[in-house]
Amino acid sequence: MSGTVTRGSVIRIFLRSFVIQGSWNYHTMIGSGFAFAILPALVDIFGSEEEDLEGPLRRHLEHFNAHPYLSSLALGAAVRLEADAEDEEAIKRFKLAVRGPLGSLGDALVWASWLPAVVLVALVLYWLGSPVWLVVSVFLVLYNAGHIGLRIWGFRTGLREGRRVGRHLGKASLGRWTERLRNSATLLLGLLAGLIVSSPGGMGEAGAAWIALGGVGFVAGAVIGHPVWRPASVLIVVAVALLATWGVVQ
């Protein structure tokens, strides 16, 4: 990278990437967060005069969305492109090209695989009778080791590779990692279901009828999927409200 962006600014940009979603809105999504995060690099490259910064700021304020952790990759690459004095259209095209893949890869890897897998580890620890501090700290340390590792990897790769980040995303085999995590999460989900049925304080304590009802609910969730999730929660809330009201009336 050309020497126009200082090391201090690179660190500030990385730290600012943690609040990239701070002004999430329906017009530009994380566009304004992206402009906020890349600002130290723009000041280094274009100076702090308002008229010099206005153009670069406008191009980074435009609509952008990606998974928040992987947006560090786009951010690093955009810093590199700005430092290499790439033209405005090339930078816009680059951001347009990466936002879709960074969103879908991140959602599949982090939200739909890594997060459930680590939550399930913590839930299994809880049902095994672990103390509060252990359950909470194992969850936070394990989850954030992956989270912060992914942010650092993305930012460094973006800074180093610039517009070639696509090739490195392919080499990183994020899809294979997603598949492995889903296998582990499925094993943990089975383990959790078994522990809830057999552990004290679980379904076993409630009785066979509740175990059977839980099994029906589980199969309904597995067969129908997301559409049944909200109605099921509403049903439980309504059932609790009716029972509580019945108790008062009695």
């Binding site: 809105n25 530009t28 206005e54 700021l57 459930p116 989850y143 094993l187 008062v248």
Partner: protein, 222 residues
Amino acid sequence: MILDLLPLVLLGGVLALDATSVGQFMFSRPLVSGALAGWVVGEPALGLRVGVILEMYLLVAFPTGGSRFPEGSVAAVVAVSCAATLSTEAGALPIAIAVGLAWGHVAGWSVTGLRRLNSRFVPEPGDERVSARQVTMGHLWAVFMDFVRGSVVTFLGLVAGSAVVNGLGPAWPVRLSDSLGLVLVGAAVSAGVLLRSLGGFRRRKVLFAIGLAVGVLGPRFL
């Protein structure tokens, strides 16, 4: 009363920030929020218990982009406060979980409302003038407003939850074991939905069956 609730209100505000605006370190997951709220009210084990059950309900509520999802941190803080208020153990869990789930959805709507407002705080590329100061102040103001939103929605949830618990809780008519069964049935639906989102039973039945067998038989040999 406001001073009594202040630690939980501030906790709700800080945890709401973690959900989207700042870091996403997952302190805002009900599992962690519940335990933290439990520590604040002096009952960490109860806090974790409530947090774990809410976590099982919200396992499939991922904070993806523009989607509206129940806010687990506010749900957990409100639910733990409700559970700690009740002296009857049987009613504490189901009423707290129901209040938490309902209020989590309300908090989710407030997130959508703030996201609409956020576009007024920050400059847009087409604006007549765009400055570094506008971008910085607009962004930080939006973050601050998210903290205010989280605190206010937590406060309202604590007040509403306390009224519900005091009104309905003491007369709860169901045994503890049945109350537990009721809340776990709802959690089982979420677990099924999660299995589907992980690839479905047909595709991963062997792994799920191994886990289930170890889970059922393991504790008997330990």
